[in-house]
Amino acid sequence: MDIRAQVAMTFHLDKCIGCHTCSVSCKNIWTDRKGVEYAWFNNVETKPGTGYPHKWEDQEKYKGGWKKSGDKIILRANGKFTQLGKNIFGNPHLPTMDDYYEPWTYDYENLFTAPPSKNQPTARPISLVTGDYIDIKSGPSWDDDLSGSEIYAKNDINLEGLSEQEKNDLHELERLVYFYLPRICNHCANPTCSAACPQSAIYKRGEDGIVLINQDQCKSWRMCISGCPYKKVYYNWSTGKSEKCLLCYPRLETGQAPACFHSCVGRIRYLGVLLYDADKIVETATTDDADLVEQMRGMIMDPNDPEVVKAAMKNGVDPKLIESAKNSPVYKFFIKWKIALPLHPEFRTLPMLFYVPPLLPVIGKRKDGIYDQVMDDDSDIPQMSQLDKARIPIKYMASLFSAGNEDEITKVYRKLMAVRIFKRAEEIHDIPEDEVEEAMKLGDTNPEEIEAIYQLTSLPTMEERFVIPPLAREMAIEDLESPFTRKNEGGFGRKIKPKRRW
């Protein structure tokens, strides 16, 4: 057992509003400067859709992530050294500016300075790259809320398993649907960005597993960008270095949730430590698609198991951090309740961000222009979301969250529905007992678990949603500098710009 600590995440998509507040809070703090105008460490996508950068999930196009090769995994782009040998002067799988977007601003000054003229002045868009007037053709949430659905939603790669008819149906009133997928760096246990870096500039922080690009060491090879199947590494064209989500480690280190978590108005985000067995990474990453989720669960260890605690202590994991792992909401969602799933586990990077899939309205039927809900009966008991009448095919959700394993998704939905049915019946008594029993059986759950899921979904405080591990900064720095000295002397000095800008 090689126990390590990972700050992990859960996003509850049923609660996601699609507001993008997370994106802006991040932008304000981290990427509001030259070179990364186009970079959104946090972005929110509408699904079905092609996302940002355009069609990022299509690894035929971008060659990101790992692929299974016999009982091993190899970088889809054939490993850093092969890649380097072949393409020393260029990396053919990088997204281009068209795949992201050409960042712009407006000629706002014109509104103040325009001379008297025949027409009202306006602020035309200007490229932040060339400084010229620009015709805007794409943006970081270009297909938001099914914008351009004919072009984008219809070309979502996760629809590939569906028939033409099924795909078209998703744009008809009866089945019309979308939901949101907020994305940040997954801080993977097996990150391809790091594996692909010829400079070894990308590492996982030992104490919390945060994946970082050393801004001193990065030499702009950009293999990380093609390597990351989630396209969550961005090239700063001004500094010539790659940058990515840092999980707001300066905030985490001071006991605050990352800005995007803090600002999440839907209260969809959870954060806490997982203990995982690094010895199991290879075995997990090489599992067949269908078993990937289950194997990933197997890699996460029980923080209450004395053996695990012992092994963790042996590895130097701080005891306070182990304590915090016991309260980790992510452990509950992913391991205990099994209602959160990794995004595209088949990329085999072992992402440490898990999504609770969204419930969606039931389908309808239309006859002679008259629309009706599809209902089971004419009783007066409120019928809530139903799995067999889901607007979006289970196959689609499985493509996103379980490497095609429809059973995994089904189980999650059954449990989520059981929670609602049980809670309603408990208070209002309008659902027959046998139906409640049946729902719990199908959901493989029980009243205690339901109560716990309900509490953490509906009533949590910030402290329950974000169980931020103590990161013992005094110990982290003391090899370098006495914390006492840091206290007394930290911050003195002048800001001296490096040779290349930041």
Binding site: P116, Q120, G139, T461
Partner: protein, 1215 residues
Amino acid sequence: MSNWIKDILDPKSREWEEFYRNRWQYDKVVRSTHGVNCTGGCSWNVFVKDGIITWELQATDYPLLDKTLPPYEPRGCQRGISASWYVYSPLRVKYPYIRGSLLTLWKRAKKKHKNPMEAWASIVEDEKSRKKYQKARGMGGFRRADWNTVLEIIAVSSLYTAKKYGPDRVFGFSPIPAMSYLSYGGGSRFLQLFGGVNLSFYDWYCDLPNAFPETWGEQTDVAESADWYNSRYIVSMGSNLSMTRTPDVHFISEAKNVGTKFVTIAPDFSMAAKFADWWIPIKQGHDAALWSAVNHVILKEYYVDKKVPYFIDYIKKYTDSPFLVELVKEGDNYAPGQFLRANKLEEYKDISNGDWKLLVVDEDSNELRVPTGTIGFRYGEDNAGKWNLLPNDMNGKPLNPLLSLIDTSKETAKVAFYEFGEKKEYVREVPVRKVKTVDGEKLVTTSLDLLFAHFGVGRGMKGDYPTDYNDESSYSPAWQEKFTGIGRDTVIKLAREFASNAERTEGKSMVITGAGVNHWYHQNLIYRSAITALILTGCVGKNGGGLNHYVGQEKLTLMTPWLSIALATDWGGPPRVQQAPLWHYINSDQFRYEGEFTDYYHLPEGRKYAKGHTADHIAKSVRNGWMPYYPQFSQNSLDLAKEAQEAGKTDDAGIKAYIAEKINKGEIDLSVEDPDAPENWPRVFLIWRGNALMSSAKGHEFFLKHYLGTSDNLIKDEEAGEYLKDVKWREDAPIGKFDLVVDINFRMDTSALYSDIVLPTAMWYEKNDLNSTDMHSFVHPLGAATPPAWEAKSDWDIFKEISKKISEISSEFFPEPVKDIVTKPLAHDSPDEITQPEIKDWKHDDGVDYIPGKTGFKLAVTERDYSKLYQKFISLGPNVRNNGLGAHGIRFPVDDIYDEMANEPTTRSPDPKHFRSVEWDGQRYPSLEDALDAANAILRFAPESNGELSFRAFEAMEKKTGLDNLTDLAEKYRSVRMTFEDLKTQPKRILTSPFWSGDVNEGRAYTGYALNVDKFIPWRTLTGRQSLYLDHPNYIDFKEQFPIFKPRLDMNLVGDLDNTDDSNAVALNYITPHGKWHIHSTYGDNLRMQALSRGCYPVWMHPDDAAKIGIEDNDWVEVINDNGVVVTRAIVSSRIPVGTAWIYHSPERTVSVPLSNERKKRGGGHNSLTRVKLNPMLLSGGYAQWSYGFNYWGPVGVNRDTFVLVKKLKNLEWE
């Protein structure tokens, strides 16, 4: 273990990590918020680094209401968190600006004329020079100016206007005080001290749900969002919660997990539909048809088949259901008339206010009895203590009202019901009772019996009742299909689930509504249809229930002291406050562009009132005192007062009598009857905190033409001439009525761009102010994180400066104080509301004279002392001390608090904890000099933040109602006091007060009308109960006694497309809901929001509509009609219903707008396509809840019934 991933602990190799740590560091955090017209009311932390505002994050320290409710935090959204972008951006107004052509004229005039009045007169009285700068409006050519110059122009033009035409030609527009109390209040205080006019906003924005005054006598009172969590069945209608109630919508998903069902009724697959268990894709604007069928099912199954005791008990206690209604013979049948008045019975004919007391049948005695609590018991000494809902009659005898006559009466009458969807009459029998009255025998029935018949629930009665749910007669589930496109099975199921849930939970079914339905011409009816379902199922006044309308941050929680300060009634009054929709309709000359309103609004033959031109209805409403109108008279109100004084009328009563007599003789002209005469034009227009010329300018292009006199894209024909009767038609429409337009702003928005002067104001993070909302029950501050940047000043300080300038120079214009005559409409919550039991018109009806406050508007006399304007501005006047404070007809004493504050030192610096006083002319007053002083004064004088005053207010309420259990609500909190300092520390929850109908004690979530239900306090309506039946004579004539269904207006009749070339175009219904990337026009122009959207303000359409004209996603298009044109890009999406074009309101035409190919000029904003159409019925007044209140009552600025053509833009041209 895989060895390709490095786990690094070594601090040496990680020293670089400081790179990001340094960015995160900051120097200061200050609590503030965004004072924009958004219901969010979110508390934010603003981060300051090196003295520069860098970013904001939500404050997460809202106290938890109760452990059974999810926490509020974090509150805030994508728009709010982009606010810091503005502070130092290239869009920031840093200095005063003035149009170059005006500045040149002013400088020349100043050289020529020593007297500033003569200088200003030389510019505005010369048509050539006036036109010169008017035509330049919006067309570039700004120059940076100094504060002194622009303040002087503003002061001079205002005083000139007052002198020449009267102060009621100086207008100001600023919306929604709740978002920043003092920023609004500074401007309104200045205007009211000056004698100017504040324009309303809530009605103009079409945020006012008229159904609230109609049903409850309340502007709006709704649940805080935490109460959604208490609901077990939530239906949202016309409200895209996730998009517009962003910080609150988590309560919905959290409620879902406790077993609540969530249903979304929306024509598009909206962001809220994603949250729903059901999405009901209704045809836009026809929600009332669906709810009518829901009501049909509820009445049939829960009142006839099941007779649910909870429902029956509820409507008996809290609604007008048992009240007797007179039936009036009309042809072969009967028509439902007015409630039978108590004084129609011999027995009660002499009781006080007998026209305003009503009758029910007592179930136990079968006698007709007079229940307490109707509006007649609200006024008059002899009625004190009888205004309550206790189950007694007026003599104190126990009363058990009979809901229906069906079991006790054998007689029936045939009553005719008109169905507007099919334009068809149904004749249905209802049970009746004969009553002997002083006017002879009358047929009466109950309000509930009529409701059964209206909804087509026959109960075995004969007539045109539907036989079953599949019968397509009104209002069956099958009937509604043709209007809504929704199947009968869905509607039946919805009704059953909704009602059964309410039965099982005793009222925890909820409807959440929004602008999506409130912006239709028949918005009040859509609302009433859903309100009826809620009332019938006992869901109003219950936690987890109710109709919750969240449109506009209208809830000024600390209303009572604020009103005195903002409307300057601490010094004088009455204030001049203007109903904006009718004002803009008249003054921007939109009335000229339509014929009679029945051209587009179908009404059956034989109407007494429901006909003619809307402008004439407005004139009548002004004469009758139903609605305010300023300017009041063609004559200067100061001159008239002087004339009266010169005629020997020394006291106010004498002056009023003199004026009334002149009006009766026709010697004074009402401005509203000749609005295009130059002496009746509004002259000076001050805009602050709002986007009066674009975002809210329904009929924007009409504004450009008739208000500003600049370039417009309007091609509509004028057609009113031949239809006008009372309002004078002038052949040539005035072009450019305003002499001066001033915009106070921190960003260069469209209104700023088109103004003559732009003043730089403090951004929200640079000033101290107060903020409250109806979405939650806290008050919190806007706090200054840094001083106002560059040359900006806070709104409070700007108006203080203007006041000072006026006081400095006023002696040139007004050497002495002068008297002013103020007209005033008949007011809600005052005895005025029992003045006009029937409609009379002193202009036309024989034997009816103008009697102020009876047959027509009221008159008041006040004093204007312009030399003391500044001193009054900075001091809280003595009226507060002498008259006490109050609202809704309840007052409480505050003299001790006033005196205490007036005794505070004069010498302190302003701070958030202390009070100060000011001293002038030998008197001391509580200080309002600084915004902090004013904030603390409001907190100290409001019952919601001062427990002692809550107690006193409930004491006054007990006296009024005769209820003896109200002060209990305040006893425990009597020692609570809040200061601005407290709010800075943490958002503070308000206290329960009688000025709001919710109860927040013991952590209870606020919900509207809880006190009415719990404590038997009457609603402020005619019956004192919730109104299902509306008996105002206008309502009877317009056939809106019932929550009836009226379809949206017909595209072919509204006249939007008469002159617009329709080749290569698709005609669509134009929908302008609240958007994702802006709160109205704010935020939408910043780079964050533009980057996340499409880099412009796009129009959304369905692929089928786009295909008809060969439009692909992101193509440039023109959206065009006779009113104007928008040039933008198309978003093609299957999410949008066929037949509609959606532009999220509200674009700025300042950002990325090319020229129109068709009209050759710059494309406009969303309001370039709108023109205001007012519903004349909503002008009704002088009658119970139909009495005027600012932002409470009147027609609203509807805009959904608009039609456009969409075409491909052939040539993309920018200049």
